[in-house]
């Protein structure tokens, strides 16, 4: 999708790296950082030449964001030095980073929600004690930047009214307004549609042409291959390799990331769908502000099949899971095993859903799936704690019984360490996810809702989890899988539906789904790529023409 010109420029830059003339724009020497007992960065060194785009990849929790936050002065390193443009530049706080010409777009934006774009832009770099002149100046400058970089945003809009894509533009504008010539972007495309991501890459390419230095953190190997000049790989707090993009391959990078060859494909037999388990008709959900997040969804899942929901994060997938899981309200009809269930929240909640055989592995296990302060055994019954099996008598719960049940389940799901009395927060992300999975799968639900099952999970655990999900399917459960990782959707699902803007843009068998076709649907577009997919039903809402 990126024009050849981009890679052309990349080659030139790579050549510059080969014969370094002048100092690197950024050089980190022996950076270490620990959060309590977690060693997030271990003795990391890295050099980035000016006018290049440097990619950083690594699994969740590898320490990428931490390293960049240190460079930006948000965290203080325990050890190590930072050199900028050949000079030793201590960066104790963000003020120093800004002075050194560094700008950063964080994974979680650092914007004031109820401020206008303009106010956010000038925050910290006002020209004087009074706001009026600063705002006027910023307004002019913003217009110029917008034209120069195609970064259009309404300066008087408040942040909370902007889409995530626009919020990201504000963050980039913030950096440019501060005249940053080193720009760090932490997972910028996770929240963007493919088209928006393309637009972003064009901008980055422009910036590179101007001689600015860019560090790009991403999980997507394709993006690395497309735009970066050099790439570093991080694993468990260490920098495992730095290579020229032109001299590597996605396979090699994946191997560097996880430390062994990766098989992303799940071996599974063809699905043998049985009776219909879930029927959803015209399901709509409004959020607290009255904004419609789900706009009339229809779908069915049968026993023994996995329906994958693909889409860019924030297009209604979370709301779909929440309303099915019983903790959001909506309108429309949902039938489970032919019986209609209440959507108003008045006669049902998460617990009554569970009693009807709906299990739910939530997207955000830290926030929803677990109580981090609770022990493993408490978490193992969380949501099912009212189950008669867990009661000793009509007054008290059978804690001892739950502990021993938990110990067995931990054994079966290979949770390490298998100690039921440890608080959940002491387990690693993958093991936390296994606790949630064990809890939800072990009950043989009729319908399993899974959101981002492998987010933040190491590759070994990913394989394990995928295997479990397929096993559950083979036992005759219906599974609704939501994931932003297209590869995961493709390898696990039997059928795929693509969501965009609260609607299902199209659905069909996984075999005929093409990468580009799904990409178009994820951006709400129809077109030839989409129409070429056999057996797919495409919504009328999908714009027939590919426009920008």
């Amino acid at each position: 999708m990126v024009e050849t010109g981009t890679t052309e420029a990349g080659r030139q830059a790579t050549a510059a790296l080969a014969t370094p003339e002048g100092a690197p724009a950024i050089e980190l020497k022996g950076i270490s950082k620990a959060f309590g007992t977690v060693q997030a960065n271990k003795d990391i060194s890295i050099r980035v030449m000016p006018g290049t785009i440097h990619g950083i990849i690594g699994e969740n929790g590898a320490g990428k964001s931490t390293l960049m936050s240190i460079l930006y002065g948000f965290y203080k390193a325990d050890a190590g030095e930072i050199w900028i443009k050949g000079r030793h530049t201590p960066i104790p706080d963000s003020e120093a980073a800004i002075k050194a010409g560094i700008g950063m777009v964080f994974q979680h934006f650092k914007l004031v929600q109820n401020f206008t774009v303009l106010e956010n832009i000038i925050l910290g770099v006002e020209d004087g004690a009074l706001l009026r002149p600063s705002l006027a100046k910023a307004r002019k400058e913003l217009k110029r930047l917008a034209e120069e970089y195609e970064l259009n945003v309404d300066p008087d809009e408040t942040i909370e009214e902007l889409s995530v894509g626009h919020q990201q533009r504000v963050e980039i504008l913030k950096a440019l307004y501060r005249q940053a010539d080193i720009l760090i972007l932490d997972e910028p495309t996770g929240v963007l549609t493919p088209a928006e991501a393309d637009h972003l890459f064009r901008i980055l390419d422009n910036l590179r042409r101007e001689g600015k230095t860019i560090i790009l953190i991403t999980h997507k190997l394709r993006e690395i291959m497309e735009i970066t000049d050099t790439v570093s790989v991080m694993r468990r707090g260490e920098m495992t390799a730095t290579v020229k993009t032109a001299e590597t391959s996605p396979e090699q990078l994946a191997e560097l990331m996880v430390g062994r060859k990766v098989l992303l494909n799940v071996t599974k037999t063809k699905a043998e769908p049985g009776r219909t388990v879930l029927e959803v008709e015209n399901l709509s959900v409004k959020d607290e502000d009255g904004v419609e997040r789900l706009k009339g969804i229809d779908l069915t899942i049968r026993a023994g099949e996995i329906l994958g929901i693909a889409g860019v994060a924030g297009n209604g997938q979370s709301e779909l899971l929440e309303v099915l899981g019983g903790f959001a309200t909506g309108t429309g009809t949902i039938r489970i095993n032919g019986e209609e269930i209440d959507l108003t929240g008045k006669h049902s909640d998460g617990q009554s859903r569970r009693r009807r055989g709906i299990a739910h592995v939530p997207e955000d296990r830290h926030r929803l799936g677990l109580i981090l302060d609770f022990t493993a055994w408490e978490n193992m019954v969380f949501g099912y704690h009212a189950d008669p099996a867990y009661q000793k008598n009509s007054f008290v719960m059978d804690n001892a019984g739950i502990v021993s049940h938990t110990a067995e389940a931990m054994e079966r799901f290979d949770v390490r360490p298998p100690i039921p009395t440890l608080p959940a927060k002491s387990f690693s992300g993958g093991n936390q996810q296994k606790i949630v999975l064990a809890r939800e799968i072990e009950r043989n639900p009729d319908l399993l809702l899974v959101g981002q099952p492998t987010r933040g999970v190491d590759i070994g655990a990913i394989e394990f989890i995928h295997k479990r999900l397929v096993e559950l399917r083979d036992q005759g459960a219906a599974i609704l899988l939501v994931s932003v990782e297209l590869d995961e959707i493709r390898s696990l699902s039997d059928r795929v539906a693509v969501m965009f803007d609260g609607r299902i843009m199209g659905h069909g068998p996984v075999e005929s789904a093409t990468q580009t076709g799904m990409g178009c649907l994820m951006a709400g577009l129809g077109g030839d790529d989409v129409r070429g997919m056999d057996g797919w039903t495409i919504s009328d809402e999908a714009a027939p023409e590919e426009t920008d």
Partner: protein, 321 residues
């Protein structure tokens, strides 16, 4: 009810509302910066004591004011230490500050003046006397306008005018200056401020210090403007009412003026009409005295619009767990 009576009730409302207004604006600075403060009561009490004591000893109300504000600021510093530096629970710190003030004032007053936890009666320059605005005497018989000028606007102590002036000043500082922008930002999202290269800690301490000054002025007004000296527990819950007014005002300065004056008015009315005879039933005095509190609850119940506090309010800024 004739017009003169209305003016008198309003006049009383202004006096009773002023300490609330100062405390409310004090709370506004703190809470806009993300530090909840239920210790306004204690700060006012401390200021009332120190201003009363020093004014009594020196005979100078201005020295009393300095001492009072100093007393209030020392408690503000304690609160800042707890909620900014040590990232403690801000509500708990506020409760402690209130207890500290209520014990400390009496303890010191007793060992200093031996008058049962009271300061000596102030007189003359030890008090902030009412100021007569120019021409007030001349126009006081002009109907309506003259009455309002002479009886409502004129004749308050300097601190009342300061409090009223603080409303536009607060608004201006908050919405028209760099400091205000940063202050509001740190209460909404301290990370945005931190990553913009501004010190969250310094900003929040500044806000807490301003809170100390304003709450202090409120206490000073109680002891040296309205009353003539300190009496134990003389704030009598006004800090809590100010807090309720702050929520009612949705953390905005102009509505804060309205809310505090409304509470002042309610108290003035219940002072004027201790029993209200509704014909069928006579509302007992105890009911009238509870009205401001009942009204606060009704307001908080959101029947008059929902208040959204500053998003980062009440949470310590923790970067690293």
């Amino acid at each position: 009810m004739d017009f003169a009576t209305i003016v008198e009730i309003l006049d009383s409302a202004v006096r009773l509302g002023t300490p609330l207004l100062l405390a409310c604006l004090a709370g506004l600075f703190s809470e806009r910066a993300g530090i909840f403060d239920i210790g306004l009561e204690g700060k006012m009490l401390m200021a009332a004591f120190f201003s009363g004591a020093v004014a009594a000893v020196t005979g100078n109300a201005w020295l009393g004011l300095l001492a009072g504000v100093g007393g209030s600021m020392s408690l503000a510093f304690v609160h800042g230490l707890a909620s900014i530096t040590f990232r403690g629970n801000q509500l708990i710190s506020g409760v402690a500050v209130n207890f500290l003030a209520s014990g400390f004032t009496v303890l010191i007053a007793q060992s200093w003046f031996h008058q049962g936890g009271r300061t000596p009666q102030l007189s003359g320059n030890g008090r902030f006397e009412p100021i007569t605005l120019p021409g007030a005497e001349a126009v006081k018989d002009v109907p309506v306008i003259g009455q309002i000028y002479a009886n409502l606007l004129s004749g308050h102590s300097i601190l009342v005018y300061v409090a009223f002036a603080m409303v536009p000043i607060t608004w201006w500082v908050l919405f028209r200056t760099r400091f205000g922008l940063r202050l509001r930002a740190v209460g909404e999202n301290p990370e945005s401020v931190d990553t913009a290269g501004i010190s969250v800690i310094r900003l929040r301490y500044t806000a807490v210090a301003i809170t100390g000054v304003l709450a202090g002025l409120g206490g000073v007004y109680l002891a040296t403007g309205l009353a003539a000296g300190f009496v134990k527990e003389m704030t009598a819950g006004r800090g809590y009412i100010a807090l309720a007014a702050l929520i009612f005002a949705k953390w905005r300065p102009v509505p804060a003026l309205g809310a505090t004056m409304l509470f002042g008015l309610l108290e003035a009315i219940s002072n004027r009409y201790p029993n209200i005879d509704l014909g069928v039933i006579t509302l007992p005095i105890q009911f009238m005295q509870a009205v401001p509190y009942i009204l606060t609850v009704i307001i908080l119940a959101g029947f008059i619009g929902k208040a959204i506090p500053p998003r980062a309010g009440g949470q310590p800024y923790v970067k690293e767990r």
